[in-house]
């Protein structure tokens, strides 16, 4: 026999002003099953909760309705209170007579009538509530980090240092990501590799980190705490165990003219190569498209020369699976490819800057390699066309950024800073050179950032023009950069030897496909969606999957690192528990009734419904049925609406509860 207690709140004047609270309490008190119906000034206050707790005990209540504010406000509060008296929290419901009634209706009589309806609905519902226990899911205390850039490295190290195993997957032959290719970093101008490579070595040597380079995530199954991840290890043609990284092979390799990915095409590499000297792992990989043996079945020098016999031309892609508890996505960014036609033609443009047409128009990452001591020019600033030292260099901001016409609408955030950095690095190497910057606005928010830009302008004499560049043309060996200075209000023409385009930052290729495998949302640009922009910036809507670094939005190094540590923190939080608990308000299938049409499985936004088989103890198939994985279900109820026979129902919002509410409205 149900015994319901109803507690109506005055909320001071907030409710009582427009709703006759006592009248509500009295009317509700007359309803069947309602054991007690009291009103009090502030139900959420300690004395208020005390009243409720007292009644739960004295009346032996089996269900509670609190008629006060929005459940988004206090449902948790009251459920806790009930729990403290041993009542299952899920038999507590609320009626929203404040936001939905007293605050929006001024006619007291009508408002009171409505309030009574609202409470009656909640009583009708709570009569069909039943005790629910939080869902417990075991955790595999092993993290997968996707992407071995600075963010991925940081996350991996933090988690590993906390004593948990980490599987780090990197698409390229070496970890290090974009940062490994940078020259110096703003705002301190300390050498990028000097600060990063030690961390890379740490990763390589960490007992808790299992490193898969030249590998990609193929498939992800399972759910929070219990993922099964399939990883494709691409054929490397070099036996990692035998190889000592001595370098004889790449010195021997005759195929020289291959553009180096690490140098962003500014330099060349052999067909068998380590992307850069400090690579981790310091083991070479063979570029199958460049290798003479693999393409023409000639040469094979490396194999002959290799003292360890590590070369294996028959190497194949290998698929391995890893058991994982949590995933950190740190796939980073790429640059908007300038001038090129793209599938989404909104992102095509800036052909007028002559990138790809004029050798000496390059992008910022290419410039990083040119100024980098480890670069193809060993830090000598030489322009690509003729190796001359450029005496005048123009840096152009926002190439593709903040441009709804032919680029992306957002600000790429880091360009203002690295432009300033580039002008300085340039000036420090070419003392008689002149750097020009065309910019829309200077966005230098951050510790010591604006000071840094001022230094570029005031000490290193970079010429800043506030305005856009309309066109770049080549006339007798000079690049003619025509733009405007909107502050001076005059058109500006600069004769440059080298032009550097700060192209917009875009998510790395293939991130959408990865997101789909992980059930993580992404925006129109392909940046992964955090589950709340303010309060859950690391979490995603896929439980147990976290994001950090530029794959979530444009970021600089310190931000990426901070977010990476945050993600690591979230993972450790998960791993700190024996098992995880989740809200029990999820869908469940009545397997007796399920006709196994699997419409629900098709519709489920979280792939939380699987096709299961019921077998008798001799293993004969009795029937097939849909089955909800409570570890994955987020409780949207789409399956319930779509199931013709209503063989699936949603706890907390069961058919019985909802129909009871409607039917209470006679």
């Amino acid at each position: 026999m149900a015994r319901i207690g109803v507690f109506t709140c005055w909320c001071g004047e907030n409710i009582a002003r427009n709703v006759d609270v006592e009248k509500v309490a009295e009317a509700i008190g007359k309803l069947p099953h309602v054991r007690c119906s009291v009103a009090y000034k502030y139900m959420c206050s300690d004395p208020g909760q005390a009243i409720m707790r007292e009644k739960i005990v004295s009346e032996g209540l089996t269900g509670v309705v609190v008629a006060s504010c929005s459940p988004h406000m206090h449902l948790k509060t009251f459920r806790k209170a009930a729990e403290s008296e041993g009542l299952n929290p899920y038999v507590v419901e609320m009626a929203n007579i404040r936001e939905h009634c007293s605050w929006v209706h001024h006619n007291k009589e009508d408002a009171t009538r409505k309030a009574i309806d609202l409470v009656r609905m909640s009583v009708a519902k709570v009569l069909r509530n039943h005790a629910l226990d939080p869902i417990r899911v075991p955790v595999t205390k092993r993290a997968l980090v996707i992407g071995g850039g600075v963010a991925g490295i940081q996350a991996a190290l933090d988690i590993a240092d906390a004593g948990h195993e980490v599987v780090l997957v990197e698409r390229d032959p070496s970890i290090g990501g974009k940062m490994a290719g940078l020259s110096e970093t703003f705002p301190t101008l300390d050498c990028s590799q000097c600060i990063l490579t030690p961390r890379m070595v740490d990763v390589g040597q960490h007992p808790n980190i299992k490193l898969h380079t030249y590998s990609e995530v193929e498939a992800v199954d399972g759910y929070l705490g219990n993922f099964k991840v399939t990883i494709r290890k691409k054929a490397r043609y070099v036996d990692m165990d035998k190889c000592t990284g001595c370098g004889i092979c790449w010195n021997a390799c005759p195929s020289k003219k291959n553009l180096s990915e690490f140098d962003f095409g500014m330099g060349t590499r052999k067909a068998i190569y380590v992307p850069f000297p400090q690579a981790v792992p310091a083991r070479p990989v063979i570029d199958a498209n460049a290798c003479i043996k693999l393409t023409k079945d000639k040469c094979g020098l490396c194999e002959k020369k290799c003292p360890a016999g590590a070369i294996n031309f028959d190497d194949q892609d290998e698929l391995i699976t890893e058991e994982i508890g949590a995933v950190v996505v740190a796939t980073g960014y790429k640059l908007y490819d300038i001038g090129k036609e793209q599938q989404n033609d909104k992102l095509a443009g800036y052909g007028e800057y002559g990138y790809g047409k004029y050798k000496d128009v390059i992008d910022s990452l290419q410039f990083e390699r040119i100024v980098s001591a480890s670069g193809p020019t060993v830090g000598e600033i030489q322009r690509p066309s003729d190796g001359k030292e450029p005496k005048s260099v123009v840096f152009i901001s926002c190439v593709g950024s903040r441009d709804n016409a032919k680029g992306v609408s957002y600000c790429s955030k880091i360009c203002c800073m690295y432009n300033a950095k580039h002008t300085m690095l340039y000036k420090h190497k070419v003392h008689d050179g002149q750097a020009h910057v065309f910019y829309m606005d200077i966005r230098a928010g951050g510790k010591n950032y604006d000071e840094f830009v001022r230094r570029a302008i005031e000490q290193d004499g970079a010429q800043y023009h506030r305005g856009r560049v309309s066109k770049i043309t080549e006339e007798n060996g000079k690049l003619i950069v025509r733009g405007v200075d909107t502050l001076a209000g005059v058109p500006v023409t600069v004769e440059a030897d080298l032009v550097v385009l700060a192209a917009a930052m875009r998510p790395a290729d293939g991130v959408e496909q990865l997101a789909q495998k992980l059930n993580v949302g992404y925006d129109e640009f392909g940046f992964l969606s955090e589950s709340h922009p303010k309060l859950r910036p690391i979490e995603t809507n896929a439980a147990g999957v976290f994001v950090c670094g530029a794959c979530q939005g444009p970021k600089d190094i310190p931000e990426s690192v901070a977010q990476a540590s945050a993600a690591a923190g979230k993972v450790m939080m998960m791993f700190s528990r024996k098992e995880l608990t989740r809200e029990p308000e999820v869908a469940c299938v009545n397997e007796q009734n399920c006709a196994a049409c699997f419409a629900c499985a098709r519709a489920c936004p979280f792939n939380a419904i699987e096709q299961a088989e019921i077998r008798d103890r001799n293993g004969n198939l009795v029937k097939r049925t849909a089955r909800v994985n409570p570890g994955l279900c987020m409780g949207c109820g789409t399956c319930v609406a779509i199931c013709p026979s209503k063989s699936v129902d949603l706890e907390g919002f069961t058919e019985q509860q909802i129909y009871a509410q409607v039917e209470s409205l006679v």
Binding site: N96, E99, N541, G637, F653, L665
Partner: protein
Amino acid sequence: MSDNNEFEPKIIAYVCNWCTYLGADLAGTNRLEYPTNVRIIRLPCTGRIDFNLIVKAFEMGADTVLVSGCHPGDCHYTSGNYHARRRWMLFRGLLDTMGIDMERIHFTWISAAEGAKFQKVITEITEKTKQLGPYEAYRKVCKVS
């Protein structure tokens, strides 16, 4: 209002928990007044809102039914509202053939930030329903013959 015996429509609103319900909360927080006729039933997502519920609402004597959730792209569950939208498209075809008065079923997207829109929608459909009068046709259907 109810003193004079003007017709007071009965409006049942099925709303999603994350957008429209919060929109209604916001209307409250901003003290945006609207008629008292609507009764909100909170569901997690428009994806959960089944057509049987709409029929049931009419059976319970609703003069107008409102179904409202998150704008496309805003769904808390990423795609519940898209699934709902599809079902409604097909369902409307059927109701139309059945001769159900389409002016008595409203579908809206109201976000958690659109308290004002919630007020506007409720006020407007209440006014509209007052003009249309009680849904006699369906009440006739429902009285036991």
